[in-house]
Amino acid sequence: MLNSHYCPHTPEEIQEMLSVIGVASVEELFAPIPPALRATTFNLPTGMSEFETFSRMQAIAGENSQGMTHFIGGGFYDHIIPSVVDHLSGRAEFYTAYTPYQPECSQGTLQALFEYQTAICRLTGLDVSNASLYDGGSACAEAAMMALRVTGRSRIVVDGCVSPFSRQVLKTYLFNLDVEVVEIAPQGGLLDRAALAALLDDRVAAVLIQNPNFFGSIEDFSGLADQVHGVGALLIGSVYPISLGVLKSPGEIGIDIAVGDGQSLGNPLSFGGPSFGFIAAAKKYIRNMPGRIVGETVDRNGKRGYVLTLQAREQHIKRHRATSNICSNQGLCALRGLIFLSSVGKEGLADLARLNRDKAEYAKARLSAIPGVSVLQASVTFNEFTLVLPKNAAAVVAGLLEMGIAAGVPLGDYYKGFNNCLVVTVTEKRTKREIDLFAKELEVALCI
């Protein structure tokens, strides 16, 4: 009865059940597995109590360095999370439920996802959203595959300023298809519009951009959508949702499919996941959307309710011809996103976006005042910017890590010839004191 808290049968109950089944032992139930195929080894350690388990987990967590001050982003951001997010998403009725295939006993999840879809549509300025994808990278890939289906073409043009992680995920998704991914080398941390113009023709299914991009630059994409649409291609934009508190929405830019990572919306860093990917598009593309979608309808008495809809797009019905293979999504993380957005609210998201930029601008001024340090991009930036250091950024970052400062993402690993560049992220959580200390330590590090 070692695990009777978890597997609850008493020996008597097991006997009773076995006699109902008509076998003498539990082992007999495994008779369909031929003896020759049975496992000969099983070397896991012995189990333990939950208290010992928790102590072990504490010890493991303790092996990571604690209290790092984050000036790093790269797709995951250290933002505030209102207390309500943990408490409400932690309601067991939400987190121990599954996919709401039976709508009558799943209206909680379904209505929440409908509200989530509404929030994403309003944030992105587009018509339709699904109920979440895995993460920002796979969302880029799903959007590209949508564009391939919509246009019947086979080339994706990608701005090199898009996150290198997302670009790599995109390439992996497409690697065994007869699809060509063409990347445009960044120009001073910005999209090379001339190179793009030269690539645009009727073979292009979509152009993928990111705003703000991996360098932190906010671009003026005026005219870009018309240019892309002019050759019959779709414009896909990966966006940072916090920035949409103030920045032009994808809909206003003329983006056809907007995607992004929802981590910044109420999901902890948690060493990279779980977060969620979002995808929103113009209504005419709804049948090409991947994943689950919740729709509003009425019940037999005319009462409003919510169901999973347009399921004929999905793998459990359309199998190999489905719009995507996704089944489990990141529903609980999307719920956290909705609670976050509803807590911060319409005015609060704009304030939060401004607060991020204020802190980043302060840091940018402080850090670029250090002798020999300059800012790479001529454009405006949001809460990230790229510094050009007088020496190799990797060595500087490694040194500052020892001081408990994650100083930024050195670009040399991701872009050739950018060894002295450092992308610095400053969220609303960084205090003036932390920024000043970082500036002081960076100056010291550069003198050595």
């Binding site: 599954y98 920002g136 032009k248």
Partner: protein
């Protein structure tokens, strides 16, 4: 219930933000700014709390109701797993990717590495990547690894097909299609497994992989699995194992021992992590040695000093399937689950999952048609064909069960069983709970004969009655207007 947007009052806020301690930045140019603020909710903290608390009460969940949803392994989610996951929330994944950063992440990288080792032992695989974010994502990753394997041998053009049984999860053919393959579907034989003769006929040098679930979606273990994998290998086709049904066989049989080359594990099914209303899941992929060169990067490896490092310069890699290391928080929970239950605990899990499914099978087989009447593993598939004679469908029985306080079993899957009712009780349910559920199922069968209309009318106790799904699909109202 009102939508959160219908409770908005302009200017109201749910949280107070920190004040700024730096000067305001100069304004951004108008050309970059949005014309109007995003129309998010504007509610007080209490309004928000009441709204989502009341919404949650309109859900069935494992913590409130028996949830025998076949194929989904809705076992109880131990609370210590949640406490454990909370320990790891402050760690930034980018830290590990910085120069010298692995030194600061030995705990998290070590946990991932150890989890891979434990899963490798459970599955009989040689190495595990934790990147895939869900089961279907694992399938896609696995098939891409197979594609890379064939490409490295110069066979990319030759290998065109992936073979799946008709009882497979829809994700199998969908994942193979994304990875660039055409699908060959093999029918199920009367004995409940993929038809062996038709399988042999389907095989050729052009087949890249065979995807199997074992036990399959009928809950049956295929005794010919080794023969099938031998045949596949004779055509240089690799065997993919869909780990959705791993809960049935832990400690009993290892996919890697019976000829499978690649597989995913659904941590949210077998290893007790919560399903979150649809996700997040986690789908680590295990491979045999021959496929290690193609694993996604960064790959976590242990150096000679026992220190974890990230390998990022492998030329054979398929690249990356997730931005960082996968759904880390889900993996913390699964790791805690595995070390808590341990060797004997996991064996007990599989034994009792199988015991429970067979108990329900025996108790209900007099009341419902059992198209494949043999010892099942962790789940059992009935058919409502007998009830259909009274005009009652599987969906009506499902709705009746809701009124009795049970989340319905999976219905209409697998597609090869008419009016399928697929029951997976899992190991964590008590005999008393199952007996009460069995009574409800028997009552449904009786009611189907005596008053079918009562089943058509169900459910009556929920906040809403049956919904007009046709209207939803035709009108496509997927975003609140107003």
């Amino acid at each position: 219930m009102h939508l959160i947007y219908e409770q908005s009052t302009p200017g109201r806020r749910g949280v107070r933000l920190p004040a700024s301690d730096v000067p305001a930045a100069s304004a951004l140019p108008d050309t970059l700014l949005r014309a109007e603020k995003a129309g998010l909710a504007e509610v007080s903290e209490l309004d928000l709390v009441r709204h989502f608390t009341n919404l949650s009460r309109r859900n069935f969940s494992v913590d409130t109701n028996f949830y025998p949803l076949g194929s989904c392994t809705m076992k109880y989610n131990a609370k210590v797993l949640e406490n454990s996951a909370a320990l790891f929330t402050p760690f930034h994944p980018m830290t590990a990717l910085l120069p010298g950063g692995v030194d600061f992440c030995q705990g998290t990288l070590g946990m991932l590495y150890d989890l891979g080792q434990l899963l490798a032992d459970i599955t009989g695989m040689d190495e595990v990547t934790t990147q895939p974010l869900a089961g279907a994502h694992g399938e896609m990753t696995g098939i891409m690894l197979i594609a890379a394997y064939h490409a490295a041998k110069g066979n990319r053009a030759k290998k065109k097909y992936v073979v799946v049984p008709d009882s497979s999860h829809g994700t199998n053919p969908a994942s193979a299609a994304i990875a660039g393959y055409e699908i060959i579907t093999v029918p199920t034989a009367p004995y409940g497994d993929m038809d062996l003769e038709l399988f042999k006929a389907a095989m050729s040098d052009e087949v890249a992989a065979v995807m199997m679930t074992c036990p399959n979606t009928l809950g049956l273990f295929n005794p010919h699995i080794k023969e099938i994998s031998d045949i596949a290998h004779s055509f240089d086709a690799l065997m993919y194992y869909d780990g959705a049904n791993l809960n049935a066989i832990m400690g009993k049989v290892k996919p890697g021992d019976v000829g499978f080359d690649v597989m995913h594990v659904n941590l949210h099914k077998t290893f007790g992590t919560p399903h979150g209303g649809g996700g997040p899941g986690s789908g680590p992929v295990g491979v045999k040695r021959a496929l290690i060169p193609f694993l996604p990067q960064p790959r976590i490896v242990m150096d000679g000093d026992g220190k974890l490092q990230l390998e990022t310069a492998n030329p054979g890699t398929i690249g990356r399937t997730a931005n960082f290391f996968g759904n880390f928080g889900v993996m913390v929970r699964a790791y805690a689950y595995i070390i808590m239950l341990g060797r004997e605990g996991l064996i007990q899990v599989s034994e009792q999952a199988v015991l429970n499914a067979n108990y329900i099978k025996e108790k209900l087989k007099g009341h419902y048609d059992l198209p494949y009447d043999m010892t099942c593993m962790h789940e059992v598939v009935f058919s409502a064909s007998r009830q259909l004679e009274h005009g009652v469908h599987a969906i009506d029985i499902a709705k009746f069960l809701i009124d009795k306080g049970y989340h319905p079993p999976t219905v209409y899957f697998p597609m090869i069983v008419k009016e399928a009712i697929m029951i997976e009780p899992t190991e964590t349910e008590s005999k008393a709970t199952m007996d009460a559920f069995i009574e409800a199922m028997i009552e449904a069968a009786r009611t189907a004969e005596s008053s079918p209309q009562a089943l058509h009318d169900a459910p009556l106790t929920m906040p809403i009655s049956r919904l007009d799904e046709t209207k939803a699909a035709r009108e496509q109202n997927v975003c609140h207007i107003g």
